[in-house]
Amino acid sequence: MSRVLNHELIFNICPDRYVDLPTYCCHGGYTALKKVLEQAPETAIKEIEEAGLRGRGGAAFPTANKIKMVRSNPSDLRYIICNADEGEPGTFKDRFIMTHIPFQLLEGITIAAFLAGAGHGYIYIRHEYPEAQRIMRESIIEAQKSGLLGSNIMGSSYNFTLELFSGAGSYLCGEETALISSIEGKKGRPRLKPPYPTEAGLWNKPTLINNVETLSNIPKIIQNGAKWYRSLGTQDSPGTKLISLSGDVNRRGLYEVPFGISFNQIINKYGEGTKPGRAIKAVNIGGASGVLIPPDLLDTPLEYLACAKTGITIGSGAVFVLDDTRSILANVHNRLRFFLHESCGKCTPCREGLRQTNIIMDRLLSRKAVKTDIDTLTRYTRAIQDASFCGLGQAAGNSLHSSLMYYAEEYLAACQDNQLSHNKEVTA
């Protein structure tokens, strides 16, 4: 599904190609792990640091720093968790990595575990991905048989065991502390941070948690070096990003793009633009917790800094295109319903706030709202954003805020009193 558009790739995912262990090894697979096991861990950590790799799950935290934090915490045990709970609507990159290039992920996990000093790890895969679970389970067994997992990996003194853990249908478990609670057999509710998982994570031990895409970058960085990696993206955001492109484009799919290209290029070059005669109305970036932006912001480059300036959250890399036949309100409502459903109920602003905003959205969509409802909506979402305990509530209003900023007229047009005054003007 990735199409080569004159740039080198880190993932090389083809929709119909599964890369088995021998093939992966033929293409340099596991040379990185071998190299790492023969060096001082600091050398590889430095390479990752110089490459400038940042977390690809959404938070964009520098990966090398996280590894160092876990490593430097004195403890008898340390864990690694690969976060494969991809639940962000509109995102399917981790699923493709697991079902197509599972050994690249396994190599990445093993390297990261070694660098962090972890002897045991989990891959937490959402329940909705049975195929990914099956392939990863089989790949773990194969890696064990080939001496790439387990005791004395590749003839070294390093021992590392990896287990698969299945989620059970909770979006919130993608949040790292909720995910830890879930592995501990409890409800997947978030905990207060600090302490951060790097200090006190799974069973209160230092734990490295990274996303599937992040970990899968590591073998390539070690294999080809930080300099090569930096040649792919921009100064601010090195490397490439997997983009899940969906919605009203001609060619939906998963694309690996170099950082620095614009959203317009993603949509037009990779997605081959919108349907004939249709224009883009809005683009949702970063999934349900992301923002809705108008077409004139689409020249923004895909880059952490540039996006932050424009208020765009790259998040997991979902790009969802809405053409001019779509209703902004209906789309925002869909996201708010999603968050209401996924709210764990632990804190009031998120639990009750989302209930109320959904009631107002219902009124707006059934044309029973009045203008003051929009003010209430704004106030409520601000409160949810400011007072919620975890990232779910804090980000739940992102698409609402951005749409109120760029598409206020649609909200106004949906209000009853607006219609009334409009009619009056017409009849007067």
């Binding site: 991809e86 609507p89 909705e128 991905y129 299945s166 059970a168 249908g169 998963l254 209906a330 764990c344």
Partner: protein, 159 residues
């Protein structure tokens, strides 16, 4: 079929693996759900309270405390699927089965659920039946998948 005892033994009776045990017990149950008896048995076998089991079980949407059909149909409700006319797919399935989302057919063959993104948004509207994802659906193609499954079931019965 695995008995609950056996499943717990496989997981070493580790309370940390409670969620995995619950999922395995549910998978082994003929009606695809976690019954009250199963909860009781897990609690007494693992020496934990029933409320502890319920607390974990009820939090996760893929754990059902109500009997379900042999095939669970999951219709994705998120924006990319909704925009791709998920509503039409849902109504056509509801009409075919004579039930609405959240219900099970009287013959206990199908349960219809609305779920979150299946990671198949590049072929929205998408649904998942048991372990398989079907994408780029039309109301007709959705209905024909269900009819095929029903037919397979009838063939198994008469065989």
């Amino acid at each position: 079929m695995n008995s609950i005892k056996e499943i717990i033994r496989q997981y070493g009776g580790n309370t940390g693996l409670l969620l995995q045990i619950i999922l395995a017990v549910q998978d082994a149950a003929p009606l695809n759900y976690l019954s009250e008896e199963a909860v009781n048995e897990i609690a007494s076998e693992m020496n934990i309270s029933r409320s502890r089991v319920y607390s974990t079980a009820s939090f996760y949407s893929e754990v059902s405390l109500k009997p379900r059909g042999s095939h669970v149909i999951r219709v994705c409700s998120n924006a990319p699927c909704e925009n791709a006319q998920k509503a039409l797919i849902l109504t056509s399935i509801e009409k075919e089965l004579g039930i609405i989302a959240g219900q099970t057919t009287p013959d206990r063959l199908f349960t219809l659920e609305c779920v979150n993104c299946l990671g198949a948004c590049y072929m929205s509207p998408a649904i998942k039946i048991d372990e398989t994802i079907y994408g780029n659906l039309t109301p007709d193609s959705a209905v024909s998948i269900i009819r095929r499954l029903r037919k397979e079931h009838q063939n198994e019965q008469s065989a």
